[in-house]
Amino acid sequence: MTSRTTAPVRVRTDRIGTTGLVYLALVAILLGGAALAATGGHNLLGTANVVDMLTRSSLLGFAAIGQTMVILCRSLDLSVGYVMALCSVVAATTMAGDPARIGLGIAAALAVAALIGLVNGLVITRLKVNAFIATLGTGLIIKGYLDTQYKGPAGEVPAIFQAFGYTRIGFVPLSAAVMIAVAVLAVLFLRTTRTGYHMYAVGGDADVARMSGIRVDRPVIAAHVLCSMAAGAAGLLIAARFGTGSTLVYASGYELESIAAVVLGGTYLLGGRGGVAGTVAGVLILAVLDSLFNVLAVDPFFKDVLRGVIVIAAVAIYARRQVDRGAGRPRFSGGGADAGAGGVGAAPPPVPAGREGGRT
């Protein structure tokens, strides 16, 4: 269904970067989806649906932006869902319905998030526990705390703060605008700060980074702190949208979904390559698909099937590109059976500048 729209650009996909490809895919899916929805008499690009897409993307967006940083460092965070739940509760119980305590609630939630990120980072870098296990472990710890301490939703979010979840600027939901702003900040952070540079370095090759004087633990810890804080922001958004703190959010699978969004956005799972811009596109792709499925009234379980297939297919395509790129510049036009037709376009050989010096 979407091949029609992607076909003309396919020729040039090798020239554009992966991020470009992801955005092309986003546009293709948006147009293809709109066409498909139109056949059913729906307008996917109508305000209501666009608002819906943007709203859907903001929550996952926060989580995925943070996850991007962690993955760039060749780490992983499986605790984001639990952090989101905890922070929503912390924010809502701290605010306790009092508009004067909004600032305090935000600060408390983000501080708790930062602390968890710090713990994750320290456990991974200092205790040398594999990130997968470390963050799974912190997740479990938080889950136990939440289940023991809170028997359900807790706290109350003042109406003004709920605006964060419901206000729109034009047709853009405030939460989506904030998410995009955070994404822009994250891009700037990665591209203009030393820590950002060092995240790529550590994810690319920790030994190289270490030998170059980078204290390799630091970017990793920073990434985990930022990732948790992004999850904390998602928790704030949850509190705003729910009007209360919700402990059960952790069951919604945000950790795996955020990882899926990150790789869908073209970031390399083994670190060192990719970025937040791609992730945003990845998140939007998932949101567009969700809205489309909704408009087309696709069975929710079928959505899971499609999501699974799409994520695998997308990553398979990136992997293919990676393989092609690794193959290097061909010297001879390959493949043909004719041996003679070979080296027509052969590049001039590198000629050494004479053998300097002599024998002793």
């Binding site: 305000t47 209501a48 649906n49 608002v51 819906d52 709203t55 859907r56 929550l59 905890l86 509760v89 912390v90 119980t93 701290t94 306790a96 408390a108 708790v112 602390l115 968890i116 713990v119 710890i141 938080i142 705390y145 289940d147 301490q149 809170y150 028997k151 359900g152 939703p153 807790a154 706290g155 709920q162 979840g165 419901y166 949850i238 949208r241 729910f242 009007g243 209360t244 919700s246 402990t247 059960l248 959010v249 069951a251 919604s252 809205s291 909704n294 009234a297 069975d299 929710p300 959505k303 899971d304």
Partner: protein, 379 residues
Amino acid sequence: TTDVPDDDDAAAAGPAPDQEWFDPEEFERQLAQREITPEGPEDQPWLQAIEPEMVDTGEYRLEGEEAEAPTVCFSNASVSNPWRVTGWITMQQQVEVLQDSGEIGEFRVSDAADDDNQQISDIQAFVDAGDCAAIIISPSTTATLTPAVEAACESGAPVIVFDRGVDTDCAVTFIHPIGGYAFGADAAEFLVEELEPGSTVLALRILPGVDVLEHRWAAAQQVFGESDLEILGHEFTEGDGAQIKDLVTQYLQRGDVDGIWMDAGDGAVAALEAFEDSGRPYPVISGEDELSFMRKWQEEDITAIAPVYSNFQWRTPVLAATRILNGEEVPEEWVLPQEPVTAADLDDYLERNADMPSLHYAKFGGEDLPGFPEAWQDR
């Protein structure tokens, strides 16, 4: 152990955890409601109501063209457990009837797969679409869905909430069986009655934090508190049969368990098997009107009760929608009857549902719908 907000906050936010979900007034009310004969057609419990206070819905009445096949929108929390699956089938069958009669046109559904945020978006999408003549909501969790339900109410379309509640009464009607307190008390009272004083009871729960389930346990605690039974413990099982069986087995290794109280019955068989496999006599047990449990109960002649969280409530919201769109009055809080299955009517219910799959619910109330029985059999 963890980096947590200061505990004072959490403690200050509510009463002691065990009391948090206990509302004595509501508890008393539900216990009393069990005794009240509901109003409405006797053979159609889904249309009955206990002590209804009718509200006028004239403002929602559709006229002329609008009244022809109006679009009804339904935001479902999920179909992630057999109880909900059974109910969802029933609802669809009911919708078909109404569509055939032209009372409903499009029935637009979104399913949030247990994700609150998703459901908020789903409801928002209905509101934004602007063409829902009525919006039915089966909320995923109580407090969190409240703002979204309020937003739906503000859209002008009549809103119908059923099953789990929300903290607002903006909906035209809130449909639910008597409730969790009644469920939990039915089960606990049965155990108290059947067991010798001093007997031991193990409570098995699915997960914390869901109001309907918490109410059941809160009521049970209340009842047990006034009894001479010894409560060995209460454990969360996530409804997973393997966990249930393992937990019960371990309790049996440590000593006798005379009674089992459950907050949802679909794992009851696994609990009973733990007794079988350990070579212990069956306990006195409370389950739910789920057939696998009821069949086991009959086969093994167990001392048991099946409290019911009336599954037929899934028919009511769509019927309510058509009434509202016709301007007919409906109960503001539509409390449906909720009566446990006891040894006395066990055989009757099993016979009626003889061809139904084991994860079906006896009181599904769809026998008169055209799709019966295939629709519930071929899931």
